[in-house]
């Protein structure tokens, strides 16, 4: 039994929350937000799809294996640190001013990429755990006394 109201609302809400989570990710360095929060919002919105539409639909649309996602995130984080070593500084030193060849000067803190890695890890971990747990039983709302 699927709730029609939930399906309609989530169809409208999920794209909005996904965009909002990306916004939270990018604004993290200068305003409340950041990798952890954005990751949680993204995973919650995908869980909303799962709640509304069920397990089979969820499996059909998830083209990504979640364990690869969090491994990718961890790799991002470590590679950002290694990038500092290539630049001759100790591990995980951050750099903000870049002199790009064609585009001129840019100010992007390298901690941004680290945050991106954190984001992928959170999304991957939460979705992986929820997916694994949910597969054990068909989702249904029963009342247990």
């Amino acid at each position: 039994m699927r709730s029609m109201i939930l399906q309609v609302i989530s169809a409208a809400l999920v794209p909005l929350t996904l965009v909002f989570s990306i916004y939270l990710l990018f604004r993290g360095h200068n305003a409340p937000g950041g990798g952890f929060i954005a990751g949680l919002v993204t995973s919650l919105s995908i869980i909303l799809i799962f709640l509304a539409y069920g397990m089979e639909f969820f499996n059909k649309i998830s083209f990504l294996k979640f364990n690869r996602l969090f491994a990718l995130g961890l790799a991002f984080a470590v590679l950002t640190g290694l990038g500092a070593i290539i630049g001759g500084k100790p591990f995980l030193t951050s750099k903000s001013h870049w002199h790009l060849p064609l585009l001129g000067d840019a100010e992007i803190p390298s901690a941004m990429f680290f945050d991106l890695g954190v984001y992928f890890v959170v999304v991957g971990v939460v979705l992986d755990i929820i997916h694994t747990l949910a597969e054990e039983r068909k989702w249904g709302m029963e009342d247990k006394k």
Binding site: G33, I37, E107, D128, T132, E136, K144
Partner: protein, 795 residues
């Protein structure tokens, strides 16, 4: 090419290419194997130009920062010793990679094999090139780990799993001791003004400036023994030799590479590197010299008792390693300077023999010498190569082989030792016995296999091995003969390399001694010695069976290390199971009870033990009206959680408590925390609901009344303890507030206005990296536990 780039390539290129099998398509296995062959070849070519640079005794020092604040940096030293070892590693690596292509069967998955093999090669190169002790330890452990993956390659076989675990535990434990020894060494050599340094260059400089600093340091015995435990476990010296024969469960190319030429030599390399610091001391002489000698004789004897080709070779390797170790222990001039000659020699003939054993295994399906015979009719080239290698192992001068020269030098040393001190008669006797046993087991390797009577193994023989498989051992055999013929050639080449390392006191004297001694028939007594060794060896081989039972009657003391290992391993597992069964009986409520009880007991116990007092701070500010409302709501929800009948509703009330905390954060102006709390609460609610359906039906009213009272009291106790603990911590601040530093520096240093975020990803980024790693491990754990449970349920 700049030296720093070259050294980085040499050490890290194999690691980089170790990632390649992960992305290589699964079908094209043969092309992966051929591509991986290029890596050791590339490393070999990269090392060649350094040969000229280190010849005159020069060294190259290359430094790359890693963690400068605790003195751990990638500091490399390129000198004769490291270049020699790296040439062996990469050169034999090329041959082993080539051999693997033909050895591994088509149906196997090569990706794991090549990834681990390349990682091993990189770590071994790291061990020989680094001069920072902690980085050396890191690479040392990496060799243990990759060796574990390689020995256990056929993980479905019980003996592979056993051998891999045994090797890992023994060498890993040794590695930890070694690290302790390194720290003690760095402490002993700490300059009075500066901070501690793990750089060998500075340690040597300190030791040169204060010659007695190390020997008279209070840590001396502990330091030396710990480091030697590390070296002895890796090189399989007495009493840690029992892991190597069981490591023969690995595929043969791995045995040829790791367990004969490279990994087991790491311990020897360490002893060579640290020799200038510890060399003259008595403790070194007795432990290293004595231990090496015992290993030498014992393992040569044990080689005579086995019938598996690879096991005989394993004990033979241990015996030779014992010989080299003993020579480092004796500390005679000839011994130190010419040990490397024997290292190179051993690498050549042992790798060759292992590859031959693999060829025989491939062709006939068996490695037991009792099932083989008359193979020389079917496998001509294999027979020739095996004979050359075996002759080098025995030290027989015909045809001229390098092994003969090694044996000569060994006898020189022990006689020199005896002349100096006549009470050391054990050493020449041991050397003589070892040489005889060596002849004995070499005969055992060759004669029953290639001559003798044909058995069922020979009947299965497919014929000669493919050319590619023979190329590796063939090249090594050619090298052995060439080395023997041109006596000056390998000798001066190796000698130049070794003299190039820092640690040679009198270069001139050594070269003159060498020039007078290097010749094959240099005097009659040496010739007589060799002849008698050969005769005694032949006799031993013939009559060994008669003496077989004698040692076994005494309870076979050679097996004691093995028995001890098995006993401690099984004992640890049994002990752990016993403790787990007491504490973890499967009932979740008991676990929760125990956990909370432990928290209360430990916290209050520690507080009362230290005579803690509770201070109440008089804070007269009236809290926010909304905060009071929230507090009331929170308390009300908690009471509803305890007393409301419906289980599902209880979970939702828990969620209300969580959201109330979120609102607290909101009112006290912590937006990031509020957001995080809100989202985490939602996710936890969902997780709880999902797990909820797996829990069995349970009615708390059915529990006995006493149980409910005890539970209630424990809950109250936990609440009170946490309340007093937190209250006390807030009211007496022990440290200065760190917030001002972060608020001041967030824009200039981290270029971000959100202090919480910059702390997370920039200032304390390393902690965050650790946290996300833990998250990944938790996810993998949940996945693994649930999937295993499903498999068990299906059964």
């Amino acid at each position: 090419m700049k030296d720093s780039i070259r050294i980085l390539l040499v050490v890290f290129l194999p690691f980089l290419f170790a990632l390649l099998p992960a992305v290589w398509p699964a079908q094209r296995k043969k092309s992966l194997a051929w591509f991986c062959l290029l890596v050791p070849l590339a490393v070999f070519i990269l090392i060649m130009p350094w040969l000229n640079r280190v010849e005159g005794g020069q060294q190259l020092w290359i430094d790359i920062n890693w963690i400068p604040t605790i003195g751990v940096n990638f500091e490399f030293l390129v000198d004769g010793l490291s270049v020699l070892f790296s040439l062996i590693i990469s050169g034999i690596g090329v041959l082993v990679f080539l051999y693997s292509i033909y050895y591994l069967h088509d149906h196997e998955n090569f990706h794991r094999y090549y990834a681990a093999l390349l990682a091993f090669m990189g770590s071994m190169l790291g061990v020989v090139y680094t001069r920072n002790l902690v980085v050396l330890f890191v690479f040392w452990e990496l060799t243990s780990l990759s060796s574990f993956m390689l020995i256990g390659y056929w993980f479905h076989r019980k003996e592979s799993r056993y051998g891999a675990l045994k090797a890992l535990f023994i060498t890993g434990t040794g590695g930890l001791f070694m690290l302790a020894g390194f720290v003690l060494l760095a402490l002993a050599c700490r300059p009075s003004s500066g901070s501690i340094s793990f750089d060998l260059r500075e340690i040597f400089a300190y030791a040169a400036a204060n010659p007695t600093a190390i020997a008279e340091s209070p840590y001396f015995t502990a330091m030396l023994l710990c480091i030697l435990v590390g070296a002895f476990t890796k090189s399989g010296q007495f009493p840690f030799y029992n892991w190597l024969p069981d490591a023969m469960a690995a595929p043969t190319p791995i045995s040829a590479y790791l367990h004969s030429s490279t990994m087991v030599k790491a311990g020897i390399f360490l002893m060579a590197r640290l020799f200038p610091l510890f060399g003259g001391t008595d403790l070194w002489f007795h432990v290293v010299g004595g231990g090496g000698t015992i290993t030498m004789v014992l393992c040569a004897y044990m080689a005579l008792k086995h019938y598996d080709l690879k096991r005989i070779l394993a004990y033979s390797t241990l015996s030779t390693l014992g010989l080299i170790t003993a020579c480092y222990g004796y500390g005679t001039k000839i011994g130190i300077h010419l040990n490397n000659f024997h290292i190179m020699n051993h690498a050549f003939y042992k790798a060759c023999l292992f590859m031959i054993a693999g060829i025989i295994d491939h062709a006939t399906g068996t490695r037991d010498i009792r099932e083989l015979g008359q193979l020389r009719k079917h496998m001509r080239y294999t027979w020739l190569i095996a004979c050359v290698a075996a002759l080098s192992m025995c030290g027989i001068p015909l045809p001229p082989v390098m092994g003969f020269l090694s044996k000569e030098f060994l006898f020189e040393q022990v006689m020199h030792l005896y002349h100096e001190d006549h009470s050391l008669w054990f050493y020449p006797l041991a050397a003589f016995l070892t040489a005889c046993f060596t002849v004995g087991y070499s005969l055992k390797l060759i004669v029953p296999v290639f001559w003798g009577t044909a058995n069922k193994g020979t009947e299965h023989c497919h014929g000669e091995a493919p050319f590619g498989m023979l190329l590796g051992p063939g090249l090594l055999a050619v090298g052995i003969i060439l080395g023997g013929c041109w006596v000056a050639l390998p000798d001066s080449f190796v000698l130049k390399l070794f003299l190039a390392s820092d640690f040679v006191p009198q270069q001139q004297e050594v070269t003159t001694i060498l020039h007078t001694n290097v010749a094959i028939w240099h005097n009659f007594s040496a010739f007589a010695l060799t002849a008698s060794v050969i005769v005694v060896g032949l006799l031993i081989y013939k009559f060994i069976r008669r003496f077989d039972g004698i040692l076994d009657k005494g309870g076979n003391p050679t097996e004691w290390p093995d028995r001890f290992y098995n006993f401690s391993f099984d004992g640890t597992i049994k002990g752990a199971t016993f403790v787990s069964n007491i504490a973890q009986d499967g009932n979740l409520r008991h676990y929760v009870f125990l956990t909370f009880f432990a928290i209360v007991a430990l916290l209050s116990g520690a507080y009362l033990w230290n005579d803690g007092t509770i201070t109440f701070v008089k804070d007269t500010t009236v809290p926010n009206f909304w905060a009071i409302c929230l507090a009331v709501i929170t308390v009300a929800s908690i009471l509803l959680v305890i007393f409301y009948p419906h289980r599902l509703a209880k979970i939702f009330f828990l969620g209300v408590v969580g959201y109330a905390v979120c609102l607290f954060f909101f009112f006290y102006r912590a937006p990031d925390l509020a957001l995080t709390q809100l989202l985490i609460e939602s996710v936890s609610l969902l997780l709880f609901l999902l797990v909820f359906y797996r829990l069995p039906h349970f009615d708390y009213e059915d529990e006995p009344k006493l149980r409910r009272i005890v539970d209630g009291m424990l809950s109250l106790a936990v609440g009170c303890v946490m309340f007093f603990f937190t209250y006390n911590a807030i009211s007496q601040p022990l440290f200065d507030n760190i917030t001002p530093y972060f608020i001041e520096n967030t824009i200039p240093k981290a270029h971000g206005k959100n202090v919480v975020n910059t702390i997370l990803v920039d200032f304390r980024g390393f902690d965050t990296m650790g946290e996300i790693t833990v998250l990944c491990i938790a996810a993998m754990g949940v996945y693994a536990l649930l999937k295993i449970h499903r498999k068990v349920k299906k059964k």
